[in-house]
């Protein structure tokens, strides 16, 4: 089996690297040279873990979903990232990066956001640490995700619309990168997924890897073995999936199942299924799989879930796909919505629509009766009430 691991240039197999304008070189280099040492400091570890425990509410439960298990004939555990403070896994990463930013002596934080979950998680840790926070958000997403915009403002962050291009997550990321170029000295950019130039993808995965570290300990207790037969997670950029897969990357006993958003269908022209539709290219500082025209222009994706509405994926996922280590499944809008409603009714948990995609994978994947399956329940559905209401079929 091939080893899933980042090399010193930031590549996972053929994907990764740091394709950045020279103006960003000092910032990225500062991070690259320092992040591992800083993360390894006992002081960092202590602050990180005590905040995860007392502020975020970790460890999150690994919950045996009995009625769901019965329905599918497997032993299904839900890793309850939805119970994290702010409602999704995103905060694991923002806690790690804000401590890092402080140690680097930064005064200001910038971030991009799509659905607003990462923006809220960033605004939250900035409030916690007393740091100035600006979040870039596509003008279209600002319209679609009002409640999260207001949450960020209540937390004291400034929300700046990205008005160029398609006015969604991709453009918000462009804008955050531009603002970092404009403010290279005192500002840290908290990227919200395992995307961007090296060392971001690995750094974000490390912060999210607390998810699989906990799964191991919890499974050992509940099942007498520290690994499941499969881990299932949705992939936008891929941070919750990378976190849930991390400690199993190189464990051949564990299937890694990554679920992408097919939108209205892979061949509908309105999709975000990057591995199905993408080809190798460079976006936001790394080489990865990318939805693009033959001329290399980035194509606008579509998904009913704003958090999966991104034309690329993190380089580690491109590598998991290309190497065959990961199994990739695409789930359409309507199927995801139905899976979300189904979980609400069988387990009393209204999931984020991103997460609902992972839930529907149960109906598409193969497994043996009695297999132990862990689904990473990346977030809760409060932010999506409007979308559920508009969809209406419940």
């Amino acid at each position: 089996m091939i080893e899933i691991k980042v090399d010193e240039k930031g590549f996972y197999g053929n994907f990764g690297g740091a394709y950045i304008p020279e103006m960003l070189h000092p910032n990225i280099e500062e991070l690259r040279l320092n992040y591992e040492a800083i993360i390894a400091e006992p002081d960092f570890q202590e602050t990180f873990h005590s905040l995860l425990r007392d502020f975020v509410g970790r460890p999150t439960p690994l919950y045996l979903a009995e009625r769901l298990s019965e329905k599918f004939g497997a032993k299904i555990y839900l890793k309850r990232e939805d119970l994290c403070h702010t409602g999704a896994h995103k905060v694991n990463n923002t806690i790690g990066q804000i401590i890092l930013a402080k140690k680097l002596g930064k005064k200001r934080i910038i971030a991009e956001t799509g659905a607003g979950q990462h923006g809220v998680a960033t605004a939250t840790v900035c409030a916690l640490m007393g740091m100035e926070c600006t979040v870039y958000m596509g003008a279209l997403d600002i319209e679609r995700q009002r409640p999260n915009v207001e949450r960020m403002k209540i937390l004291g962050a400034k929300v700046v619309p990205a008005t160029s291009g398609s006015k969604t997550l991709k453009d918000a990321t462009n804008e955050a990168m531009r603002q970092w170029i404009n403010n290279p000295v005192d500002t840290h950019y908290i990227i919200g997924s395992v995307v961007g130039p090296h060392p971001y993808p690995e750094m974000v995965a490390r912060f999210q890897s607390v998810i699989s570290a906990e799964i191991k300990a919890q499974l050992l207790e509940k099942e007498g073995r520290d690994y499941p037969d499969a881990v299932i997670a949705c992939v936008g950029g891929g941070s919750n999936a990378a976190g849930a897969f991390y400690h199993y990357y190189n464990d051949p006993r564990v299937r890694l199942i990554a679920v992408e958003a097919a939108g209205l269908g892979i061949s509908s022209g309105k999709s975000a299924a990057t591995t199905a539709l993408g080809t190798p290219g460079v976006l936001h500082g790394s080489k990865t799989l990318l939805m693009q025209t033959k001329d290399g222009q980035v194509v606008e994706p579509h998904s009913i879930s704003a958090g999966l509405d991104y034309p690329g994926i993190g380089p580690v996922h491109a590598h998991l796909f290309e190497s065959g280590r990961g199994e990739f499944i695409a789930v359409e809008d309507d199927d995801a919505m139905r899976a979300g409603i189904a979980l609400s009714r069988t387990e009393g948990i209204i999931p984020a629509i991103e997460t609902s995609h992972a839930l529907h994978a149960l109906s598409l994947m193969e497994y043996k009766p009695g297999d132990v399956l862990v689904i990473n329940l990346s977030g809760r559905g409060d932010k999506d009430l409007d979308t559920y209401i508009k969809w209406g079929k419940y």
Partner: protein
């Protein structure tokens, strides 16, 4: 010999390089603009290859990129427009753009096409020097293409020296911590940076870009370098123009007149 090298051999002062986005304002304006620039007295022409996600560019150039794409520009169309350029344009011509469209076109095919058309050099902001040395340098050399790197006030002396060693056209000095965009003036801090780099005695000529817009900023920048690059301010001229030839002529003449 490469036209860029020839230019800098006989001109070391007040070299004016003008950037515009291919396919803007209208799809077929590319050659018209180039000819007008040559007649008006520009020294280097930088043609932007439109891209959907130009992360080093400010709003003016972003908009021109998106407009050009909306006009139907793509790489093949651009090469088609440049097919006959050497019959009427003798200035050095540099293509500027992001890596992804070049990768999709095929790097070698792209370089071969550039050479065939008489392109002299490339500026690819998201191609860092380490990747250039590993994967592109030999290819660019093979097809006679100069490569230009950017440096900014944050770039360390050691790195500027490394960039100088591996550059063979000119060095593009980004004037401040900034993405592209026209600004009104040049600060003391910027001048200190211009002087610091000038004192380094680099082997390559230096052009200062980002924020240069008129005779005053051009003259100031030229005092500390071999010349300057104008992008956003020129795009604004094009955007508001009803008569490209006349407006380009007037603008360039205004910039290069001795203040």
């Amino acid at each position: 010999m490469n036209r860029l090298k020839r230019l800098f051999e006989h001109k070391q002062e007040r070299v004016l390089s003008i950037y515009f986005t291919a396919g803007f304002p209208a799809k077929d304006d590319t050659l018209t603009i180039m000819q007008a620039l040559e007649q008006a007295g520009a020294d280097i022409i930088e043609i932007g290859m439109p891209y959907s996600d130009p992360i080093a560019d400010g709003p003016t150039i972003q908009e021109s990129n998106l407009q050009a794409l909306a006009n139907g520009m793509d790489m093949e169309t651009l090469f088609g427009q440049l097919e006959e350029m050497r019959q009427t344009v003798s200035l050095p011509v540099v293509l500027m753009g992001y890596l992804n469209p070049i990768m999709q076109y095929g790097e070698e095919r792209f370089c071969a096409r550039c050479q065939e058309l008489g392109i002299d050099g490339l500026i690819i902001p998201d191609l860092p020097i380490s990747l250039y040395l590993e994967q592109y340098q030999a290819l660019f050399n093979q097809y006679g293409l100069s490569n230009t790197f950017l440096i900014s006030p944050q770039t360390s002396e050691e790195r500027i020296r490394e960039i100088d060693q591996h550059s063979d056209g000119f060095i593009y000095m980004v004037s401040s911590h900034a993405i592209t965009g026209a600004k009104a003036s040049i600060s003391e801090e910027q001048i200190a940076y211009f002087e610091r780099v000038a004192a380094m005695q680099l082997k390559n000529p230096r052009l200062i870009g980002f924020g240069i817009s008129d005779a005053y900023t051009f003259t100031t920048a030229s005092r500390y370098s071999h010349g300057a690059i104008i992008g956003s301010a020129f795009i604004k001229v094009l955007a508001g123009s009803r008569n490209l030839e006349a407006d380009i002529h007037e603008y360039i003449q205004n910039v290069i007149k001795q203040a």
